[in-house]
Amino acid sequence: MTDRSPSPSRRSFLAAAASLGVAVSFVGRQAHAADGAKKLVVVVCRGGMDGLSVAPPIGDPGYAALRGAIAIKPEEALKLDDTFALHPSLTSVHALARQGQARIAPAIATPDRARSHFEAQDVLETGEAKVYGADSGWLNRTLEVMGPGKTEALSVGTTAPLILRGKVQAASWSPGKGVDEAARLPTLLQDLYKGDPLLGPAFARGLETEAMAQAAMTALAPPPAPAAQSGMMMASTPAMNAPRMNQPGGRPADNRQGREAARKLGSTLAGFMRQADGPQIAALSLDGFDTHAGQVGQIATRLTYLDAVLDGLHEGLGPEWKNTVVVAVTEFGRTARANGTGGTDHGTGSTALVLGGALKRGGIIGDWPTLAEPALFENRDVAPTLDMRGLFKGVLIDHLGVDRADVEKKVFADSAGAKAVTGLV
């Protein structure tokens, strides 16, 4: 029996991604993704990312009292304005913010209020007003309306994230040992799968993708262009947490290594996006944000990786950074008060990060409801003042140039109450 051992050179970045609990997804369109095209990266932070740690409102009189021992100390926080700062781990984001290339939306939420991870992630990814509103993801529907054009999707890993699932078919790929195209077996199996509506298309796509991904990975080191037929790719690795990721603290040595790997992941993703047929849209997810206990160390580790991925993207995109918007969001925020176990429980409003060279300089996105007790949502959470779909809609319309009517009717149907955020780019 041969146990597989992926060749580390070409595939190491995706393996590294898996070990960090990061999933990468690329989506692009045929021939439009070369240099010069507008690019969008969506980062989904899973588990309920604590907005009050991402961008602590250190100038809000309620903050220190509500958070007690897990409050970010004002002297350690990276100052943004009189009210807000960034978590000390977000050094690269802070550097971008000082150049007007990173902004925060500090009280943002999906329309879901159930505080269930699974429901809220569904709503975030489908872009619907309520759970089970659709079984396709809004990024997939974006591609649909951006068509025509032969589109192709690549999901690295075993399961495609909902945000990318839909009519525009997705393939998947993750580090493996490659397929010998001359072998008889794949052909014979394709025959056997002819009558199977699920296995047939999936297997055919798997074989195509394997060939394409090998070309793409080889092409990562400079020169160009995979032999890929056409453009849209998406990738996600199975969300696997290395055990230490969920441990409070995370040791310094681990963090250094993890940070380096995460940075590499970001710059490699950027490399994909800069290829001639590379993806124009990418989605990436980072898990491990469910900080019920031991939050201080756990979130520092996760934000360190987030910061490193974003830094890698920024650097790797180089001159293309000016054509790029990156949005980092989570399914819900966490309770404004610390709980009894050095953590926080499921809440509502959280913080989104919006970055990119395409961004206009400006203050916070949306209003800040404050942490005054009467202002808290149900006397426990940051009250959301901005519907996440409004942010997404604004980015699709103003940045990617997607037709407004299509966005309103097809991508985010049922979102009339969530006005598109304008003037971001």
Binding site: H117, S172, L185, L188, L189, L192, L198, H292
Partner: protein
Amino acid sequence: MVDRTPYRKGEPGLSLPSKDMMAAIAATRFGLGARPGEIEAARSDPRGFLQDQVRREGADIPRDDGESTPVRYAAFADLRQERRAARQETRMVAGNDMKPIPLVDAPGANAKSDAQKDVQRYIRQKTTGDFLARAQLAADTEAAFRERWALFFANHFTVSQTKQAASIVIGPFEREAIRPHAFGRFEDMLLAASTHAAMLTYLDQAQSVGPGSPAARYQTRKGRRTGLNENLAREILELHTVGVDAGYSQADVTEFARALTGFSIGRAQDPDIGAFVFRANTHEPGARSILGKAYAQGGEDQGVAMLKALAADPRTARHVCGKIARHFVADDPPLALVKRLETRWIETGGQLDEVAKALIAAPEAWDPTPAKIKTPYEFVISTWRAVGGRPASFERLNPILTSLGQKPFYPPSPKGWPDEAGAWASPDGLVKRMQWTQGFAAAVADTRDPDALARSALGARLSEPTARAVARAETRREAFALLVMSPEFQRR
């Protein structure tokens, strides 16, 4: 291929397939794939073959080291104590220089990293041993439906290695809280799972403190902050019992979390380390109500009474029976099937052996069209079963399961592994299954008759195209790979 001979048993409009087909379905859909001879054994009475596997004393116990949760926790606590001591030493050495030195470079770092390694080694040794024993049971067992049923409930009450402190007791958790109750009352399983150290650790319950409890008042005087953690309470409602659509509110979650304060685990200094302990001094006093039902003040009894009421709630019956039907039959199961299971659940007060028998009796469960795709674990185990073998080491399982997205003991969230065909029949997953099968074939196929193997593994489910492809293959290895990758082997 499908023999649609009517086989009515008072079910107008529903016909059962032939006994040959039912024997094949019994081994593949209800079980973990046929071992040589299994379909033959089920042939005379396929339903009876399954009914006989249902037994009050519960599921089989894997032959791991048999250590109980307290034994594991005690050993782990000792190792961690050593690690702490080593770290302490490192810090003192570093402190002598009056400047911070990175831990890795500090003198004495070797002692620390040895202790650290011991902890890691212990975790690895226990989790891999537990997982291998479980996989070997699955590969060997002649009562594979019994094992599938236990695995379903282990996934229903997920505990994952994503929380390191829980990882060494996932095996004991299944042995102590799930398997003994697999065919008992759901209420007993819910109580056992909700009071087990593994669950109390995984979902943070052990540290939750009632804000108005004596312990909280004491801590506050000392300037320390303690309080509620609602993680377990929420997941019991959302995932383990009534389900997310039951209509509970945030207030219900919070009240339930308050009622559960005090549910904790014996600590290192306690005589009962690793055992369930009710800490009255951390319990939030007071009467309360959840889901419209009032509960008197009563310490431990209050939380227990709520758990019992949740177990008896008809919404729990609907939620869990829907999951059972989805797991065994189809992603979108026939409503009549769910209704049958639900009715039996309610009639018997959640008696799981009776629900299992209702599933076996239900004609909808015997539809010859296989709607489900095997999970990676089911696929890998069923391949071993097809050749009458078993995995000899954890390393035989870990790489393939990890690359197919089902890393051993690492379900991604408290919701457990997904159960939908779409989640596992991914393009990449299929290519990986094929690659692994080729390696497997190289090791086992040369000494076996592929046609006989195809018949013993699939029985009447073997389709003509697959039989033909196997018969025409160029080599035994190719024949074996075609069999294992055939649609009817991948599906169940």
